[in-house]
Every structure is written in structure tokens, then in C-alpha cells.
Symmetry: C2
Subunit: 232 residues, 2 copies
Amino acid sequence: MDSMDSMYDVLLQLPLFQGVSRAKISELIEKTKFHFLKYKSGEQIVSKGEECTHLKFLISGCVRSEMVNKSGKIRVSEVLCAPNVLSPNHLFGRNTNYPSDLYAVEETGIMQIDKQTFIRIMQDESIILINLLNIISRRSQKSVETFLALSSGNVKERLAFWVLCFTQRKSIDVRVICKQKDLYTFFGVQRSVFMNALNELKEDGIIDYSTREITILDREKLKAILTTDDDD
Amino acid sequence: MDSMDSMYDVLLQLPLFQGVSRAKISELIEKTKFHFLKYKSGEQIVSKGEECTHLKFLISGCVRSEMVNKSGKIRVSEVLCAPNVLSPNHLFGRNTNYPSDLYAVEETGIMQIDKQTFIRIMQDESIILINLLNIISRRSQKSVETFLALSSGNVKERLAFWVLCFTQRKSIDVRVICKQKDLYTFFGVQRSVFMNALNELKEDGIIDYSTREITILDREKLKAILTTDDDD
């Protein structure tokens, strides 16, 4: 009875199960095979390119996600904390391989459900279906919305646009790991222009930076650059 | 019987109904209220900001979609032809308003199903549910994939990245409508650098351009810039 209660609490925390009744969750717990996995700090959870066959829920701890571009020169990294769901938009679609490496940042618990079982759950319970559609749709709307919010296209805006496109809404400790030179070349601007933008962002408490990486201190504030800039 | 057959053909053409059996489609046709709408060439189908309450299928003709950024200086426009589905990723998610204006380019037919009915259809038939999840997931994967494919970040790559982020896989006649000056300012490069990139893309048959707009002649070729560039 006790473990049933804690299971119920875990599921209720997850955005995907929001709004589902206690009775329905009990039924799910009885009928469904949930797999629980534990990872130690630093342990790899997923390798880039690995097939996404299960929906993985982050139920305790935090996970670092790391993507690297083709040249290998630019890495984008972010941390997701429980409760959350890992790469829900890679279970379906043309590309069902994980786009990034995932590592446990601390002692981390994952609960996973295989794809077929999850499809059955969605068919059985419309709230869960709608929750997943909301989560995936939200992600697909991101790039269009950031485009609509662009105004001047100055370096700060472009950096914000670019970082927001690849990172999740609830992620923390977002890092762009890259030599400064590669980054201002990538953005096609002179060093001085790029450094001015970085310094302004740092003064506003939005980022910090070293010669090798930029840390986004506040993703929401970074977003505000795109949405509140009031030029023409 | 005849109209039943043609209805069957129409539904089978749509990516969302791929793989669904004839028997299941017959059952759907009987049980579901489909709404059919006809538009004349030039007529507006959807206004930007309008609430997305129905899933709209493009069953005949072509539709132009037009988005404009906040400053009003940059417009991105594309044409989608039947069979297709319009903004399936805006029926759910935080933002359920259409991000763009949609106009009929020629005599155009739309079939629509309201959201509640469509949810019921997905619960009833897993193939349709999986088809929708595939379509939306595919869109949400786009920005991450284009990031992974970036190598040098030269102007051609950045233009490709940028256009691919906002346009659909099967769209034709993609246009970026913008003064050249606003565009090279936006990309943060000098006029000469920008014009060189445009000229190279034009020579390769990927785009054409005038002082007021860039036309993407071949979206697939534009994509190849990101995925086949073999620098380091």
C-alpha cells in the first residue's frame, strides 16, 4: 500500500500524467510494466545515436544532455532535473535516435515504458494522449515562435535565438562550449562586436563566460531579449 | 457508393491516414462529421493569431503561408500543395493560434475535423495516432537536426539553417521577402559577403533573388548545404 502511494506520487509529478485521476493511475500501476533504473553520478544514461525505444521519465536527480555539431567545434549542453521526460520528441518521427548524450549529474532515477505499451496507455486515457501532444507540439512551435519574436537580429538576439532553439524550457545550467574565435566566426561578426554583446549579457546577469564556454545563467531572461525588445 | 469511394481516396492520400485499412476508413466516414470548405484563388483561409480549433486537411489545390517577424521587416512565405495537413503542430501545445496567414493560391479544398472528434479518432485507431505523433515529432526534431548538421557557419549555411527552421519539408516556392540591406544587417555581415553567398547559391540553381526577395528554388538542395559540406 505504501509503495503504491509513492508510485502514485511519482507519476502525478510528471507533466505527462497531469490531470489524470487517482483511480486511473491505480489502474495503470496495476496493468503496466514500469521499469526502474538507477544511475550513479557521472554514469551515462543514453549515447547519441542510440535508438529511442522507451519513453524515459526522470523521476529523481538531474541529467546533463550534450550535443555537438558536425565540425565538433561547438557543443551545447544543458541540465534537466526531475520531474521531467527525456527526449519525448524522439520516440516518434523520422529520426528515432537520441540526438545527444545523456549523463547522470547526481544519483538519478529513471522510470521507463516501452513504446508499444505507451501507445496503449494513450489510447486508453485521452488526458495522457493530450498531455504528450501538448509537450511535443510545444517543442515543434519553438523555432517558429523565436523567428516571430526576432526584431533587429543583433548579436544578442541571434545568440538568444540560437540557444533557445536547441534547449528545453525547464533546463538549467545551459552551456555553449566552444572557443570564442570559433563562435564569433560562426556568428560572422568581429571579435569586438561579439565581446560587447557578451559583456552586456553578463552585466545583465543573463550569462557568464570564459574563453572556452558561455554559461546561460537564466534561460527565461535570455528569452526576454527576444520578446520584450522594443525597437520599431 | 461513388462518393464513398472518392472520400476513401481522399483520406488515403493524406499522410495522417496512411496505413489505415479500407474497413476502418469506411467506419470513420460513417461515424465522423467531416466538414468540407472551398476557397477561390486569393481567398484567405486562416488569419495569423486565429485559434486553431480544427485539424485542416488540404485535399485539393495549394495554399500560401506567410509569416512576418516582429519588426515587420522580414517575411517568410511558402506554398503547400495537396495532399497535406495545415499546421498540425498548432492544434496542441501552449500556443494554439496559427502563426501565419494562409491564402488559397488557386481553387482550393479543405476538409476539417474538430479537435475533440480528432482526439476520439486517435484513441480509436492507433495507426492515426502514431501518424500524427510522427508528423509532429518530425517537426520538433528539425531545429536540433539542423544544428547538428552545421559545420562552418558561413553565410550560405546560416541562410540554409535559418530558412529550413521555419519552412515545411514538402513546401515549394519558399520566399524570404525583405530588403537586401535588412537581411545582411540581420545576418551581421557586409553587403559584399552576403551577395557573394547569394550569387554562389544562384549559380548552383538553389535560389534566385531580386532586390526585394530571395526565392528558394529547391528546398532539398538547400538542405544538402547543411548535410554534405565536408569541411573538417
